[in-house]
Amino acid sequence: MDIQNEGVNRRDFAKGALALGGAGLLSAVALGASRSGGLVFAQNAPFKNDLEVLNYALTLEYFEATLYKTLNDSGKLQGKDLQYTQLFGQQEQAHVDAVKATIEKLGGTPVTKGDYNFPTLNTREDVLNLLNVVEQTGVGAYLGAAGYIQNKDILAAAASIMQVEARHTALIRYLLGIQPVPDAFTPAFTPAEVLAKVKPFFK
């Protein structure tokens, strides 16, 4: 597998089309629109190769795993809430382990765990709302990066993780008693959008 030498292939991938959302995306394809106005990354793909995508994923997975651990230890969750978030935290850790192992197997250097600023939260709703936002960001990050992945096996693996992040968001909303699945298509975010969302939590 020749990951390192894949180079910067100009990706014919419409970041703008992603912003339209699923149905709009399908229409854009049908109309032959491979690019549209207002693209953030029209000229340069933000990822040079699959290793960069995997390290992007690992950055977020470390963040999520640590957040879950912190919140699970905070004493602010109980009962079924805690049962779910403990499960999800374990699953995020499994994602960390798997992505890290894959990067290493491919001969890359995994990013290290970051230092985070987590807010002090007082209520169960605050905790679950934060987890919901973070998980939704994760889904959107994977979705926004999927088109840059060259290797089909890595793509399939990333999608298998992304799916779980999506499940987590729905289950957290279920716990909150709000519409668990609000959209027919989960939203995608560009790397710039993801960074903007998570930056406040990184030291």
């Binding site: 049908a30 197997k105 999927a146 699945v181």
Partner: protein, 265 residues
């Protein structure tokens, strides 16, 4: 009733699930989920299995549309059945709307790309469901098959925009499944990693719903080899709608799925 085992992690807590997903043709239609996939140690030489019959983006879109029609029709039927109440009824109304949106979107893009979208069948062979609990369980299984189908097929899409859209739909199928599992009281309503299904596995699961006679295979296509009884017994034609007529279906070509080594988790 299709007998789909909902994907769970093996053992207590998190098992070491394989990360890189291989083709993993699982033995027996009844064992649709389980320890499939490959360990990171098997990274070299991994190939995503070319799902039998999915040889182009159009094939994949048509496959997806076929499944979405099943879901759309199933939700419409159950939402009119009076079997559901309260929050569950609300979930089903919303989820059904999503599936209909998926049908419309896929139909639209196939048409615009010059294909002839597969139509909803005149009827389907849904199992006879008599309680809300049975309904939730059945739909959880159907949604899990949908999520697995997309996870198995979407990475094969060549066009990156189609890939992104299919991935977004796939996420929603998984969300539906997990919510219904939560409603069922599943203590682990999400697995750690999604499980892809091959084309053959999906056909084995949903074939009976498409009311195909003779062993769960589509007329004109090679049989998957899975006898109908492996799926949990003969299905009961529901709602007295009579035998389904199969309309124009997927343009598919038979192909052996690739079997890769599986290791236990």
């Amino acid at each position: 009733m299709i007998n789909v085992i909902l994907p769970h992690d093996e053992g207590n807590g998190i098992s070491r699930r394989q990360f890189l997903i291989g083709s993993g043709v699982l033995a027996g239609a009844a064992a649709l989920f389980g320890a499939g996939g490959l360990t990171p140690g098997q990274l070299g030489g991994i190939k995503i299995a070319q799902a039998a019959g999915l040889n182009s983006d159009m094939d994949i879109l048509m496959f997806a549309l076929t499944l979405e029609h099943v879901e759309d029709a199933a939700y419409r039927a159950v939402n009119a059945s009076g079997l559901l109440s309260g929050k569950v009824a609300e979930y089903f109304k919303t989820f059904g709307d999503h599936e209909h949106t998926h049908v419309v979107a896929l139909t639209d893009v196939i048409t615009k790309l010059g294909g002839t979208p597969v139509a909803e069948q005149a009827s389907y062979s849904f199992p006879k469901l008599t309680s809300q609990d049975e309904v939730v369980k059945f739909f959880a299984q159907v949604e899990e098959v949908g999520a697995g189908a997309y996870l198995g097929a979407a990475p094969l899409l060549q066009n990156k925009d189609l890939l992104a859209a299919a991935a977004a739909i796939h996420n929603v199928e998984a969300q539906h499944a997990s919510v219904l599992r939560a409603v069922m009281g599943d203590a682990q309503p999400s697995p750690a990693f999604g499980s892809p299904l091959t084309y053959d596995q999906v056909i084995a699961a949903v074939g009976p719903l498409l009311a195909m006679s003779g062993g769960g295979s589509m007329p004109g296509m090679p049989t998957t080899g899975a006898p109908a009884t492996a799926l949990g017994g003969p299905l009961v034609l529901a709602l007295g709608l009579g035998a389904a007529a199969l309309g124009a279906m997927l343009r598919v070509r038979s192909r052996e799925t690739t079997s890769s080594d599986e290791s236990a988790s």
